[in-house]
Structure formats: C-alpha cells, structure tokens
Amino acid sequence: MKISVITFLTLFLPFFFFGQNPVSGTVTDNSGVPIIGANVYLDGAYDGASSDVNGKFSFETSETGTQTLIISYVSFEPYKLTDDVSKMQNLKITLRDDVNSLETVTISAGSFSAGDNSKISVLKPLDIVTTASALGDFVGALQTLPGTTTVAEDGRLFVRGGDASETQIFIDGIRVFTPYSPTTDNIPTRGRYSPFLFDGITFSTGGYSAEYGQALSSVLLLNTIDEPAQEKTDIAIMSVGGGLGHTEKWEKSSLSLNASYINLAPYIAILPDRNDWQKPFETASGEAVFRQKIGNGLLKIYGAFDTSNFALTQEDVNQSEGVHFKLNNQNFYTNASYSEVLNEGWTIFGGGSYTYGNTKVGIDEAEIKDVENSAHLKLKLKKRFSNRFKLDFGAEQFVTGFNENYDEPNFAVKLGFNNNISAAFTEADIIFSRKMALKLGVRGEYSELFKELTVSPRASFAYKTGKHSQLSLAYGDFFQQPENEVLKFTNDLEAQHTQHYIMNYQYAANNRIFRAEIYKKQYSNLVTYNEAIPDVNSVFTNSGDGYAQGLDLFWRDNESIKNVDYWVSYSYLDTERKYKNFPFEATPSFANTHNLSVVAKYWISDWKSQIGFSYQYGSGRTYTDLNEPGFLQKKTRGYNSLSLNWAYLLSQQKILYFSINNAFAFKNVNGYQYANTPDSNGNFARRELRPAADQFFFVGFFWTISDDKKDNQLDNL
C-alpha cells in the first residue's frame, strides 16, 4: 500500500515529490557585509528569493539536476553558479563590485572632460556656450580652466608653458590639421568649428593616452553627436552676422547642416578700433554631419568649409604709414569614421580626414601663398576581455603636403615639403578594483621626412583615497615634428620631445569638485635657429631645451548658493626654454606666472534669464627691453578682463542674448614693439601692443523651430 501511494505520487504529482529541493545561503560583499535585497534565482525558472537583512536567502525549487543559480544586485557583478541543485545549500556567496559603477576610480591626471555621462565632468556641455568671456567659442571656454595661459591677443590654447602649436585637436578621434582661422598679429583667432555639433569634449593638459601623438603639450578631443535628439531649425540673427541650422532625421540616419556668415563691417563702422580696416573681417562657413546606422555600426561623415578675408593697416613702430596686411583663406575639412561593436568584446574603429587649406597673405609688397593638403588615416581595435581588462591597439598614418610661393617685387621663392608619419599604438586598461586602476601604453612613430623612429611609453595610475577622493599619477613621453614654418626651410631635423610627470588629487561630492595637480615637463630637442625670422639661409638645429613646472587648482561649486554655479581656476607656472632664436633659456612671452579665472552663472527664474560673469587675470608677460641689457628681461603689467552676458528667454524658443567683454574697459598691454634702429639719442622707440579694441559688444536673437516647441538655442550661445 505504501509503495503504491508513492508510485501514484511519483507518476501523477511529480511536483510534490521533487518540489522539495531547498536552495539556501548567504550573500555578502567582499568585506563580509551582508547584502540585503539581492535577487537569487535559478536561471530560466521562476524559483528564487530576495536576500533578507542578514543577507540570507532560501527557497525551494521543483527543478532538478544541473542548474545555474544567479545572484544579482545593483552595482555588483552578477554571480553565477552552475551545479547540481541538491548541492545548492548553505552557500556562501561573495559578490564582486561592479567596476562600471560611478564609485570606481577614474584616471583623472591631466584631463578635463565635458559630457553627458562621463563619470566626473568638470565642465558641462552648456558651459562651452554660456561662459561669458567665451562668445560661443569652445576654445574660449577652455581658457577658463587651469593649465591654460592668458594670451588674449592670440585666441589659441597655450598649455603649461607650451606654445599654441603644441596642442592638437581631434574630431571623433581624427586629427584636425588647421583648427583655427588664420589671422594676423594682435587679432585673436577663434576655433573654426561650431560647438553646436559636438556633445563631448575632453581637454587634456598632459599625460594623455598613447592613442594620440604629435602634440608636445596637450590634446583636445571633440566628439560629434551620435544621434541628434530631434528635427529642428535654428535661426540666429546677430550684431555681427547670421546663422542658419537644420537637422533632419530619418529611420536610421540623420543630417545636420549649419551655415553662418559673419561680417564685422557694420560693427567697426559704429565702434571703430585701433586698426585701419580696408576690408573688415568677413567669413562664410558651412558644416554638415551625416550619420548612418549600419547594423551594430555607426558611420559618421563630417564636413566643414569656410572662407574668410580681411585687409587692414596696422600701426608699426618702424613704419610711420603702418603695415598693410590682407588675408584670404579657404579651408575645407572632412572626416569620416565608422565604428562597430563586433562579437566577443571586440570593437572596431576606422576613420580618415582630409584637410585642404589655401591662404593668401599680402604684407605690404610681399605676396605669400600657402597651400596645405593633409590627411590622417586611423584604424583601431579594442578588445574587452572583461570589465576589468581592456586592450586597445591601432595604427595610423599622417600625410602632409605643404607648398608656399613667396613673391616680392625683387625676390621670389618656392618652398615646400611632404611630411609622412606612420604610427602604431597599444594601450591596456586594467581595473584592479574600484579603488585602483592602471593604464599602460606605448606609441611608436616613424617620420619619413627625418628617417627617424620615436618610441613613447605612457603610463597612468589612479587610487581612490576615500569615498569621494582619489589620487592619480601620469607619466609620458611625447614627440612632435616642428611646425610648417620650419619644415618649409629644412628637413634636416629631428622630432621635438617632452616628458610629463603629473600628480593629481581630486575630490568630488555633492556637486562640488576640487582638483589640484602638480606637474613637471622636461623639453628637449626643441628647434632653434639663428635669425629673428627664419628664412632659407637660416641654420636650424635641435639643440633647444627647457622645462615647465607648476600647480593647477580648480574648484567648482553648484551647491552652496542657490541658482548659482561658479568655478575658480588658478595656475602657477614656472617655465624657461631655449628655442627659436633665444640666446639662452628664458621665459617666453606667452607664458606668465599666475593665471586666475572666476566664472559664475546665475539663473533668475522670475526674469527667465541667465546672467553670466567671467573674470580673468593673468600676471605680466615677458618682453625684451632693447634699451637695457638682457633678453626677455622685463614684464608687462597684469592682464584683467571682466565679461558679462545676459540670456533672456523671450519665449520657449526665442532667446535674446547680450554680452560685453571687458565690461570695465581695463587697459591691457600684451607687449611692446621696439624700433629696429635707435633714434639720435641711442634710444629704441617702442609702441604698446594693445588689443585692437578694449571692449567687445554682442547682441543676438536666436530662434528655434521644432515640433515640440520646446527646444531652444541656449546651448548654442
């Protein structure tokens, strides 16, 4: 009888019979603290439970034989155990931290990032365009970060004692050869590309990844938007010109177009500056980004064209009638990249860019015509072995062809060179735990022009010192070819070299960030020549060297004062170098000792307005006083500028925008120009190099037309 009951149950109610397999155990983190609420279950079955306050779980299952038990909890790596169900009792399970978590240490030495989902953003996407002094130029916004030097008359980025050519700009990982519109002395340039098309910016002031080369001091990485949020049309009417933008979306692709026209003639007619303009600055530009999804891949094609021209007469101490300068430039840049996530943790990225730059410059009688054709090709593979170990490797090729025709009434010369560089790099990212991460890389470059191979190791390390703080270290070797201005005369040179040593401390919590960074940079192989302005007869060598060291501080606080977001940057820089025609090591005129920036933004809800404030101070810059012995022995007085802006939302899609640069009209002197020959008393006359205008006013009206009637161009200002 007994037997038949069992048989009956076995046959008809297997559920009862086998339903008694207990599964039980405890879940803790790696320091033994119980995890409450972890989800414990058999894969593919309904059976499971949540762990209790002591991390204990138990449930019963009707499943038999080999099963997979999964334990998952937010911010831990899921744990899998495959075994016979009967053995799944009194388990002791330790979950490992998920290193993808925000709490994981990040290597922050040397780099600032602005973006949506970067772990710690020093700048937010909006900052690029709402910083009062920046006037919509992303370079202008970056100049409020520590590590940069105020060189107001130039407009480019000068990083940690390096000159502007030592910073390279990349769009979607591909190099931009001519990122700035050419200009003349004492008229600051602007970045060519509108911030409108980018959604991620990383600015590295040193110690950057082996993926990037040909930059002695710094790299600026810009990423175009992968997928625009919506279709819209943007119209901008400004006191200096106008702009039109449109984005169109389809099922798997999208196209953004942006055109702008700037003409300073009306502005200069109302507010004349110190220059005598025959043809005020005029530029027309167009940009387009096309994106297409192909399976798991994304193709992006970016193109930008701009043409600009101006003509003016600038005061000159050696020529009482002034120097006549005219410039006409056409620049075309295109960049295509394709990235795809392949199987088994592989990602492939391939891309290329082509730059055509044509510049005609007239200085008094001389006519100079430059044509640059440059290309960059890159292929990169990434293998993700686990969350904790990733390997990148790739190869790239840079090609530059440069030709210059120089014509004067009694003299003419043709110059040019071809510069091909091949490079390969590899880099490993190792995350030991949430507390410790290491990045090791090496880059090799071969220059066809110099027949020279350079090898640059790079390393960075980060360690979490507390819940909100971390320490990072970085080291790297960096090589860069001399500029076109030198290569057009000689190719009997070597690459210039720097070494960076960086130590960074970062504290970030509750919308406050504090960063402190000390660094030392050692320069060697810098190009020197024996004349003030090099020419075909100059003697060039690689015998220059130098150093830069200093401290950068950054504090941003978006919490303490309601509706106010502000940041303060301070940089201390000590640098000397021997390069160009320097007779000995000296502090170059673009490097000053103290730089301070204070930027604040105040949102006034009742006025629907954002008021912005930006103050910049730079201590005096060196110049050579010809009336006293020495070289770069004197310093100008400090630079001060306070800029204000006001964005007023007329309605959801219409914005009125005003800004004033140098609102208090501080009188700034960037340097002095001395006469070539002394006067009858043996004195060299000099002239102050002042900005063309002390102040700049801007008024704009921005109107966005989109389906949702909500988007506006606040992010373009």
């Binding site: 593919g44 309904y46 389906d707 909500k710 606040l714």
Partner: protein, 220 residues
C-alpha cells in the same frame, strides 16, 4: 526647471499607486499559470510597498519568459520610479543603468512600443531631475521626441495623450505660458480612459486617476 521637477515627482507618485491596481486583473477561469502566479506575486509585493522585491520577482520572470516584454518593462519602471527620489548619484546611476538595460531588453522583444518609449522618456526625466544643468538640454529634447513618437504610434491611447500633454504643460508652466491649449487633450484622455481596454493581461493601465487630477489642478 524646478517646477518641472516637482511636477514630475508628483506624477510618478501617482503612477506607482496606479500601477499597483493591476493586481485585480486575474483570469479567474483557468488555474493560474506560473507566469500569472509570478506576475500576481510581483504586483502584490509592489502594492505592499516592497517595490525592490517586486522588481526581483519581475527580473526572475524575465529570465524565464525571454519573449515577453512586460517583465523587463516593470523591472525598468520600478528602477526609474525609485530614481526620482534617489539623491545619491552613485546609486542613481546604477539604478538607471539597470533600468536602461531592461528597457533595451524589452525593446528588443517589442519594437515601437509606445509604453516603452514613454518609459524611456521618464528615464531621461529622472536624469534631468537629478541634475538639470547637466542633462536638461539634451535629455529634454530626447524626451520630447519620444513623447511625440509614442503619440504618433498610438494616437488614441489615452496614456500617450496624457503623457505628452503633461510634458508640454510642464514646459508651458516653466515658461509662464498658458496650459489651457493642453486641457482639451487631458479631457480627451479622460474620455478615452473610460473605454480603455489594455491589450492583454498585465499590460500597463495607469493614467486615468492622474488625468483627472491634472484636470482638477490645471484646467478649471
């Protein structure tokens, strides 16, 4: 931005209460399947204010029912809703990443599903609520587009009408404009809720109470 935030937080509190009334739709005729038992258990836990345990049950069901978009939808929804009150950025990111993974899973099963689009928009909103300065501009544009798309896919679904109208009203209030143009949409949603039948068992049904509340508060 603050107004939008208060507004949406309110909306989600109500949403939670309504999602839980779900439990009553049980097929009484046949013996409940494991799936039905599991779903009922999850909704019961949710109603008993044990939303994380409910999420765990939904997650288990999701592994056992790889072709059903509802379990991952509810896992994501619980993570999104709980993120609106989360102040710790680390936790918030972990929860929203998890929600995003489950939305991705659900979307792979059910493409162009207006309820999933609205949930995705709500996920973006959670980021905006957390840090409007950082995420406001990009994510509000994305959310707007999702509401438009959801409404285009289901023009007569009262929940889509309500979601879009509320989003637009939030924007209008923020800019001090009249919300009156959207009141007719709210009325239309209320009318449609009266006869609304979910497409299947355990499908989302929330929204009617909220629509009436919005009407009472904003449309006199």
């Amino acid at each position: 931005m603050q107004n939008i935030i208060t507004y949406l937080t309110l909306f989600f509190t109500v949403l939670v209460m309504q999602a839980q009334t779900e439990t009553t739709t049980v097929n009484a005729d046949a013996a409940p399947t494991k799936y039905q038992q599991g779903m009922q258990k999850a909704f019961q836990l949710w109603q008993d204010d044990k939303s994380w345990e409910a999420a765990n049950v939904f997650e288990r069901i999701a592994t056992a029912e790889p072709d059903n978009w509802l379990p991952p939808y509810y896992v994501a929804q619980i993570n999104v809703i709980n993120s609106f009150t989360e102040k710790d950025g680390t936790k918030l990111k972990a929860q929203l990443d998890k929600a995003q993974n489950f939305i991705n899973d659900a979307t792979a099963i059910s493409k162009d599903n207006p309820d999933l689009l609205v949930l995705q928009a709500q996920l973006y909103t959670a980021w905006i609520v957390f840090d409007g300065q950082q995420y406001g501009m990009t994510y509000s544009a994305k959310a707007s587009e999702l509401y438009n798309k959801a409404l285009a896919l289901a023009p007569n679904n009262p929940r889509m009408i309500l979601s879009k109208a509320e989003w637009d009203m939030g924007g209008a209030k923020y800019f001090g404009q009249s919300v009156e143009p959207y009141c007719k949409d709210i009325q239309r949603a209320i009318d449609l809720f009266a006869t609304f039948k979910p497409a299947g068992e355990f499908y989302p049904t929330y929204g009617e109470e909220r629509a009436k509340q919005v009407q009472a508060e904003s449309c006199k």
